[in-house]
Symmetry: D2
Subunit: 290 residues, 4 copies
C-alpha cells in the first residue's frame, strides 16, 4: 500500500521570477479567492540575483478552477510578475528510467522504495552499458536495455537511448551508479531531468575513482552528492549531500563499503525530492523546499 494513497490530490505550482513586492500576496489571494486550500507554501528570495522562488501546493478537491483551466487562470499572474512557472498534479505519476552499470545497491534501493510506495513513480525500463545487472532487473520484472558504449558509438547509442526514453514518455532519468559520462546530446534532451549520484563530497574528488583519491589524500570523512546533470561533468546543481566517518584503518575497499549506504540514501532522497516537485533549479544551485 502506498504511503501516499490517503493523501489528498493536490496541485503544485513552482515559480521563479524577478523579486518584487506583492508576489506572495497575489498568489495566495488567487488561491483563496478560488477556494484553494493551501497544503504547503514555501518561498525563497535569492537576494544576490534578485530572484524570487516559490512552491505552493493546494488541494484540487474544492478548488473553484477546473484542472484544465488552471494554467489559463494563472496566466495573468504569471505575466504580471514575469514568472517562469510549472504546474504539476500529485496524481500524475512520473515515469522514471534507471541507468546502471555494475553496482547494484542504488538500483535495489530505488526499487525497494518504489515497491514500498515511498517513491511514487513508474519505472518502465532500466538502461545499462553492461549486462551485469540484467538479472537484477529481471527479478523486478522491469525491461532491461543494454547499450554498449564505446568512444566511437557513444553519440549514436545515446541517440537511440533518447528515442527509447521518449517512446516510453520518460520524465526523469536517474543515473544509479551509471559509469559513463553523458554527452551534451543527452543532457540537452533532459534539462534538469537527469539526476546523478557521485561518490564524493563534491566539489572534492570529481571525476573517476573518487574513493581512491580520497584514500590517497587521507580524509577523515567520505561523502556522496546527488545533483542534476549538466554539460559540465560533476558541476551540476547539487540536490543533497551526505558524509560518513572513515579512519586511517579503512582501506579503499572499506571506503567503498561505507560509501554505499551513503550513496543510496543520498540518491533516493534526491529522487524523492524531485518526484515531490520540491526542487527548483536556479542558476547552478538547487533550491530544495525540504
Amino acid at each position: 500500500m502506498s504511503e501516499s494513497s490517503k493523501d489528498p490530490q493536490t496541485a503544485i505550482l513552482l515559480v521563479s521570477c524577478p523579486d518584487q513586492p506583492g508576489i506572495v500576496a497575489a498568489v495566495s489571494a488567487f488561491l483563496f479567492e478560488n477556494q484553494g486550500n493551501i497544503v504547503d507554501v514555501d518561498q525563497h528570495v535569492d537576494s544576490e540575483y534578485g530572484v524570487f522562488l516559490m512552491r505552493v501546493e493546494w488541494e484540487t478537491s474544492g478548488f473553484a478552477v477546473s484542472r484544465d483551466e488552471i494554467s489559463k487562470a494563472i496566466a495573468p499572474l504569471a505575466e504580471r510578475f514575469s514568472m517562469d512557472w510549472s504546474l504539476y498534479f500529485s496524481d500524475v505519476v512520473p515515469r522514471v528510467a534507471l541507468f546502471v552499470t555494475r553496482d547494484n545497491h542504488c538500483l535495489y534501493d530505488l526499487l525497494s522504495r518504489h515497491e514500498s510506495g515511498e517513491l511514487r513513480m513508474e519505472v518502465p525500463l532500466i538502461v545499462s552499458n553492461r549486462e551485469d545487472l540484467r538479472p537484477a532487473a529481471e527479478r523486478f520484472g522491469i525491461p532491461f536495455h543494454h547499450f554498449p558504449i564505446t568512444q566511437e558509438n557513444k553519440s549514436d547509442q545515446e541517440g537511440l537511448e533518447i528515442e527509447l526514453l521518449n517512446e516510453h514518455r520518460v520524465d526523469l532519468v536517474v543515473l544509479a551508479r551509471y559509469m559513463q559520462i553523458l554527452s551534451p546530446k543527452m543532457t540537452e534532451a533532459f534539462p534538469n531531468r537527469i539526476i546523478n549520484i557521485h561518490h564524493s563530497f563534491l566539489p572534492a574528488f570529481p571525476g573517476a575513482k573518487p574513493y581512491h583519491s580520497a584514500h590517497r589524500r587521507g580524509v577523515k570523512l567520505v561523502g556522496a552528492t546527488s545533483h542534476y546533470v549538466t554539460e559540465d561533468l560533476d558541476e551540476g546543481p547539487i540536490i543533497f549531500q551526505g558524509v560518513t566517518p572513515v579512519s586511517h584503518s579503512d582501506s579503499v575497499t572499506d571506503f567503498v563499503r561505507k560509501g554505499r549506504a551513503l550513496e543510496q540514501s543520498v540518491l533516493s532522497r534526491a529522487v524523492w525530492l524531485h518526484l515531490k516537485r520540491r526542487t527548483l533549479v536556479h542558476g547552478n544551485r538547487t533550491v530544495v523546499f525540504g
Copy 2:
C-alpha cells in the same frame, strides 16, 4: 563589527491560530498594501491539532504604518483569525541572563559569540549557585551574582533571583550548564523564556549524570539537547539536538570531553534561534523556522 550591522531593520510577527483558509493571503495583503517589503515568510500547519503557525519578517523602512501603530493595525486581522501573536523589532536587543555552575565551556562560547556580534543580545548579569566561574565573568566585565542554593532556601533564593532579573529587565534566561533544578516559581515567571542545555539526546538519559548512564548502557553516540524549560524537568519543548560518535574505548571522561563541543554548539544555536525570533512553542513542541 557586528555581522548584523548592515542588515536592514525589520519587524517580525509570530502568529499561531486555528487553521483556516485565507490567513497567508490576508497577512501578505496587509503587508503589501502598506508597502511592507517581506524579507522572510515561513508557515507551518500542524494538521494533527489544526493549528496554523507563521513567522513573517519585513523591513520597517518604507513601511506605511509607523512603528507605534503596527499593533493597532494588526488587531483586526488578529481578531478575524483568533490569532495569538507577538511582534518584535530587530533593533530592540534582548537582555539575557546566563546561569552557570561550574563548567565553563557553554559560558565562554556564548560570550565569544556575543563579542563577535553573532548573538545580538545584552548580558547584564551572570547568576550562579557557586563561586567557581566568578573569575570567568570578571574577565568579561559582567556582574556575577552568587546565590547558594540548598533544599531549604531554594524558594527564597529563586524569589530574589526573579527580583534581580526583573530589575535588569531580562527577557531570556539561559541555563548554560546550571546544575540546579528550577522550581515552578521560576519557570512560571519566564514561560518559554528559559533555555536549558541537557547533556544527552533527550528523551534518553534525563536527569542527573547522563554521560554516566550513557556509558553504562554502551551507546555508540552521545547527544545534547537544548530546550525550553517547563515545570517538568527535561520534558520541555526541544529546540535543537546534536550527537557525536563514541566507542567502547571512550571512558566517561571521554564522553564528557566529546560532549562539550556538542553542548556548546547546540545551546548557542538555540539561543541564536530564539534571539532571531525563529522559534514558536506550540503544545510541547517547538516550531523552528530555521
Copy 3:
C-alpha cells in the same frame, strides 16, 4: 566478484579474560614463534570491570600450526590467563537467517550487499510471521517460511523455528524489521547471535511505534539502533547507532521515510561487523573492533 576474494585466508581469535600484564606479549609471541603474520590486532581494557578483550587476526598461510591444531595450541595460553575465547576462519562462510514482517527495505539492503559480496554469508532461508514479503524472497530465490504468530501459539511456533534454524545450521539470525518480540526460548537458543534493528536511538523510545513517540515528543533527530537481542526487549548490547535530522515540518510518515535509510545502513553495518568477527559482547556492552 566478491570484494573479499583476493583477501588472504585468515584466522581470527577473540579473547576476553581478567586483565593482567603480559597477555599481549604472550599472544603475540605465540603467533610470532609460529610464523603467524598478524593482519590486525586490537585490544581493549575495561578498567571498570578489570576485563581484557582482544581480537587478533593472522594469515593461515605460512602459519606453523595446522588449522586443526590451533585450538589445542592455544589451550595453554588460554588456561594461563583464564581466557574465554573463540576461533574463526575467514573462509568459513556464516549461515544467516533473515526474519522479516512487512517492511522490505532492510531485507533488500542485506540481499543487495550479499549479492555484491560485501556481506560474506549464506542465506539459506527467510522467516516471517506474515506473507507480505514472500514475493521479495522469491525474487532472490531464497526459501521463505511463514510462521504466523499469535499469543497462544508463539512458544510452539518458535520451537519449530528453532528446529528449522538448526536443521539449516544457522549461525546468525538477523531481525530485519521483524515485528514480533522473541520469547526467551529463542534468545537462549542463539545467545549473542541474534541481531535486531530498532527504529529509534535507544534507550529513547523503546517498544512499539517509536516514530510516533518521537514525533509526539518533538525531537529534532530520529535514530536507529542495531543490537544483540537478549531477554529484555530493546535492552541488549548495542552494536551501532545512527541519527538523521528531522524538523517540525516532518510528519510521522516523513519520520518513517527518513528513518528507512538509517535503519538499513545501521543494520547492515552491524551484520558486517558480526560476520567479520569484529564484535565482542561483554556484560551488556558490545566492544566493536571497527
Copy 4:
C-alpha cells in the same frame, strides 16, 4: 580540577618502521619483562607502503627501567626493526603558541578547554598579525605579541617569530584562524608541529574565502578540516574533519555562523589528539589512534 590529575603517569612510545613480523611481540615482551603495565596499545599497518605504525602507552610507576634509561633500553629494539620512534611522558606538559588574526571563537574555545583541564598544555604566548584580539588575550592574562605582516617583511617577521617561539620553548603552534600563509621558513622550523584549522571540507574549497566559494557552488553541507601545516598550503596531513548541514536559505553569513561551532570543535579535537600523542604523520596522511 584537571580531568587528568588522577590519571597515572605514563610513558608513550610512537613508532614507525618497515612492516615485518614480530614487532608487536618484541615491544610487548620488552614492556612485560620490565614490569610495564600497558595502558593502551594501538597499531596500524599501511599495506600500500609496507609501513608499520604503533602507539603504546604504559605506566611509569612500577616500570623497571628508570625514566632516564628508557631511551637507551629501547635502542636495540629500534635498531633491530629500523624504527623511527619518539618517547613522551604524560607529565611533561607541552608548551603551545596560539596564532590568531581577528576571529575569536577558536581562541576562546582553546582557552576554555585549557582552563577546564581538558587540554593539558601551557600557553606562554599568543601571536597575531593584527591587534584585534589583544583584549581577549589580556582577559586570560596571556602575553600578546603583534607582528604585522606585509609581503615585504614576512620573512623577517617570521624569523623574529621563530626566535620568540624558541625562546619560549614552544612545542606546538596552533593556527586558530590565523589568516596568513606561513612561509617555508616557519613550516620547516616546526615540522608536524603546526596545526591549522581550514574552514572547509578539504580538499574542497582550499585557499581564501571558502564559505563564499561553497555558497556559490550551492553545497548542502559545509565543513572544517584540521591538519598539520606543510609547505603546500591546505595540502598537509589531515587530522580531523567535520561537516554541518546548510540549505539554500542560508546566506554566506549563515555559512560563517554555522561553520564556527564546527571549526572550533574540529580544531580542539586535533589539538587534544596531538597533545595526547595520538597522532602519527606518515607520508601525507595522519594516523590517528583515537
